[in-house]
């Protein structure tokens, strides 16, 4: 929902009378609101008025209070909070830089190239690792600059900020995993805390952007936040907890979902017995019709999850989705597949730990026979021999996979036979829609027989679960 940009004059007119402060700030605030709207937050005029009122009570010289006052009035869900923080940083950083460019202010007291040349890369590495382990932000900021200077001297800069950040990080040998090859006194040996690693990367990014703006004397065009910024964490083990929390939330929403529609949508089925009973009050005349309550659909679910290497990062996410579904739906059977298929329902009922699950799968399942590449055709056939007799129109089949066949025959007709027997079939693809049907992806061959969703953010997942539990078929 890209909102049209409004001229500043309107903003000044809007707030000119209400704010005692300079009109400049009110105008900035409206611009900031516009920016937030552009990222999908619902910011009404009343919210902006609240923000102005709040800022009149808060001293502006404290960044954190300023931010807290704005976020209390503008961002009103945890997700909005996250977006707000990203936009806040970007907006006020850009505003400051814009002013600096206009006034021709240049950063003084920076590190000059000669001083940087004196620095030993190895010494720098140790210093940074130490500062990170100690969590010393000030020192980290200084060292970020030093390392950029030292890195620039090596002449490996690519000119693209994101790439440079990663190259510098690698050149410094900073990793969150333990590095056992290093000497014991090196603070990097035990792995750098993930939080400080992220903070350091953010500092590098900021410094690189600042340098770029100074060099070019102009701001780069504002880039809208991409979905990746808000995407689900996938991959590292700790983030699994975050995914679980999201899914737990989802589960609670699921439970209450059916009731929201109560009252607004009348069900068509008349409950004859209750109507008769109610009619006794009115002397046997059925004045008040009683309807059967709407029950949320609790389907019988079969889940097939791809665990091959091409979906490694997504399968952590998928497996935790499986967990959550197991918690919510009693009648559910899960299967994992690569080249062959294997039922893992028991494993999921027993284990909660992702590592234990993947170990158990690796040990017992025997899903990867020869090449370790997915063979969808074979999987369909094996799935049919396993459960075809159990499939019935109230069953739901969910496939989690990227539909990359590695050049093998997709055998869509076998898949079609499964979908014909099952009531509904969904396909969750961890790839953005943009990449569908590129390379060896054959999702369109399967999508003809099922409902295919892209699923790589919480929002996608939530949309999907809603579709799954909705009592009626979606209009498709």
């Amino acid at each position: 929902m890209p909102a049209p940009r409004k001229p500043d004059a309107r903003a000044a007119a809007l707030f000119g009378s209400t704010t005692g402060g300079p009109t400049g700030l009110a105008a900035r605030l409206v611009e900031f609101g516009e920016e937030l709207r552009g990222e999908g937050l619902a910011i009404g005029t009343s919210e902006l008025l609240d923000a102005v009122a709040a800022l009149e009570l808060v001293p502006w010289d404290q960044r954190e209070r300023f931010r807290a006052a704005l976020s209390a009035t503008l961002a009103k869900t945890p997700e909005d909070r996250k977006t707000f923080d990203l936009v806040f940083d970007r907006f006020f950083f850009r505003a400051a830089e814009q002013a600096a460019v206009r006034e021709g202010v240049r950063e003084g007291g920076g590190i000059d190239a000669d001083a940087a040349a004196q620095l030993d890369m190895e010494a720098l590495r140790a210093l940074i690792a130490e500062a990170m382990a100690a969590g010393d932000e000030g020192t980290m900021k200084d060292l970020a600059r030093l390392s950029i200077a030292a890195f620039g001297r090596q002449g490996q800069g690519s000119g693209v900020v994101g790439v440079d950040v990663q190259r510098i990080r690698r050149a410094l040998g900073l990793r969150s995993e333990p590095q056992l090859g290093l000497p014991p006194e090196d603070p990097r040996r035990k792995g750098v805390p993930r939080e400080s690693l992220r903070a350091f990367e953010a500092m590098l990014r900021r410094e690189l952007e600042r340098a770029q703006i100074e060099r070019q004397q102009a701001l780069p065009p504002a880039r809208p936040l991409n979905e990746i910024d808000r995407a689900l964490p996938s991959g590292p083990l700790q983030d699994l907890a975050a995914v679980h929390r999201v899914v737990a939330q989802l589960k609670r929403r699921l439970k209450t979902q059916g009731q929201e529609q109560r009252g607004s949508q009348r069900h068509a089925h008349v409950d004859v017995r209750r109507t008769m009973r109610a009619s006794l009050q009115t002397g046997g005349v059925p004045v008040q019709l009683k309807f059967r309550p709407r029950r949320p659909r609790r389907p019988e679910i079969y889940v097939l999850c791809d665990v091959s290497t091409s979906v490694t990062s997504a399968s952590v996410f998928f497996l935790s989705v499986l967990h959550a579904l197991h918690d919510s739906f009693r009648r559910m059977r899960s299967f994992v597949f690569i080249e062959r298929i294997s039922e893992v329902t028991d494993v999921f009922e027993r284990e909660r730990d992702f590592r234990a699950v993947s170990e158990a799968i690796g040990r017992d399942a025997g899903v990867a026979d020869v090449s370790g590449y997915t063979d969808y055709g074979r999987v369909w056939n094996e799935f049919r021999t396993l459960v075809e007799d159990d499939l019935h129109p109230r069953a739901t089949v969910i496939v989690l996979g990227d539909a990359r066949t590695n050049g093998r025959d997709p055998k869509a007709e076998a898949f079609a036979r499964i979908t014909a027997k099952a009531g509904r079939t969904f396909w969750l693809n961890p790839e953005p829609k943009l990449y569908w049907n590129y390379g060896d992806s054959v999702i369109s061959a399967y999508a003809a027989h099922c409902e295919a969703y892209e699923c790589w953010t919480t929002q996608h997942l939530e949309d999907f679960v809603k579709a799954l539990t909705s009592p009626s078929m979606p209009p498709r």
């Binding site: 807290a68 700790q238 699994l240 939330q249 009731q259 109560r262 909660r352």
Partner: protein, 301 residues
């Protein structure tokens, strides 16, 4: 000392005096709520002190706390007001013959026959109060819609009596565990406060406040352990309330250190799911054992 505080620092000091250690943003939003007279929607995981904040705010401002606990099926009769129909019936029966219906009608729909419920109580109270609407997400959307008039104008319309407007401005806190998406209309009228698990030092201070006799080293180890446990993938991570319970239990047991044995015997205070217990015993208990094994005598002594 029911004075209106004039800065966020004053609110923070007041809350601290009332036995609640607020984070920076908590104090700021509370101050804004008092100064702007807007309701606050407080969200966050269970047990981070959402309800406690309202209580502490009431104590620090020296106001009465009116609490409305929400649940599914809560309706106006239990939240707003109800006509005391028994009394109304008695009144009608006690009436001598000859009194016209209109006289009686004027009479029985008066303040005398009104049973006030929490929301009405907060509005009609002669001295300012703090109104806590707890777990608003448990109610249905219809109830939320009913709250809108109250939250924006601090008034309640009763068909038979007219509109009752508050004479004093209550401070309203709504808490939610986010089990349901609240309506935009409700959010629009509120300031938003997200309470999260506190950082290490902050939690240490909280533990100190509630269990002042616990040795510093034990308290520090306790909050570190809690922080580690929260990072695990649990069904219900331990909250601040659990930290405090644990600290008190350790104090009661006279523990001077949290070693593997103490941890194993008191673990059930902080983790309350069978599967969670297994995970925590597996990850944290073993680590403690390995850490202790180096210096102290082996287990079983």
């Amino acid at each position: 000392m029911s004075t209106v505080p004039s800065s966020a620092d004053q609110v923070a000091a007041g809350l601290r005096g009332a036995g609640y250690l607020p984070a920076e943003s908590t104090a700021l939003v509370s101050y804004l709520a008092v100064a702007l007279g807007k309701p606050v929607l407080v969200e966050g995981p269970a047990g981070v002190g959402k309800t406690e904040l309202a209580k502490a705010l009431a104590r620090s401002l020296d106001r009465r706390l009116v609490r409305l606990q929400c649940y599914e099926g809560l309706d106006e009769a239990k939240a707003l007001y109800e006509w005391n129909y028994r009394k109304q019936l008695l009144r009608i029966q006690a009436e001598s013959d000859g009194t016209g219906w209109s006289d009686v009608q004027d009479d029985i729909f008066g303040h005398e026959f009104l049973l006030t419920r929490p929301l009405m109580e907060a509005i009609a109270s002669p001295e300012p109060v703090v109104l806590l609407i707890d777990e608003i997400d448990k109610t249905d959307q219809e109830f939320e819609a009913m709250l809108l008039e109250l939250l924006s104008d601090f008034q309640i319309s009763i068909p038979e009596l007219g509109t009752i407007t508050s004479t004093t401005h209550p401070i309203v806190l709504l808490t939610s565990n986010n089990s349901r998406e609240l309506t935009e209309a409700l959010k629009r009228r509120c300031l938003y406060l997200w309470l999260d698990y506190p950082c290490l030092e902050h939690e240490l201070a909280i533990v100190h406040l509630h269990a002042p006799d616990l040795p510093e080293t034990v308290a520090r180890k306790l909050v570190q352990l809690i922080a580690t446990i929260r990072e695990l993938d649990l069904k219900k991570p331990p909250s601040i309330a659990e930290s405090i319970d644990w600290a008190r239990a350790l104090l009661l047991l006279g523990a001077t250190d949290i070693d593997a044995d103490v941890f194993a015997s008191t673990m059930s205070l902080i983790v309350k799911h069978r599967t969670d217990l297994d995970i925590v015993a597996d990850r944290v208990g073993v680590k403690l054992r390995a850490g202790a094994g180096a210096g102290v005598a082996p287990e079983g002594a």
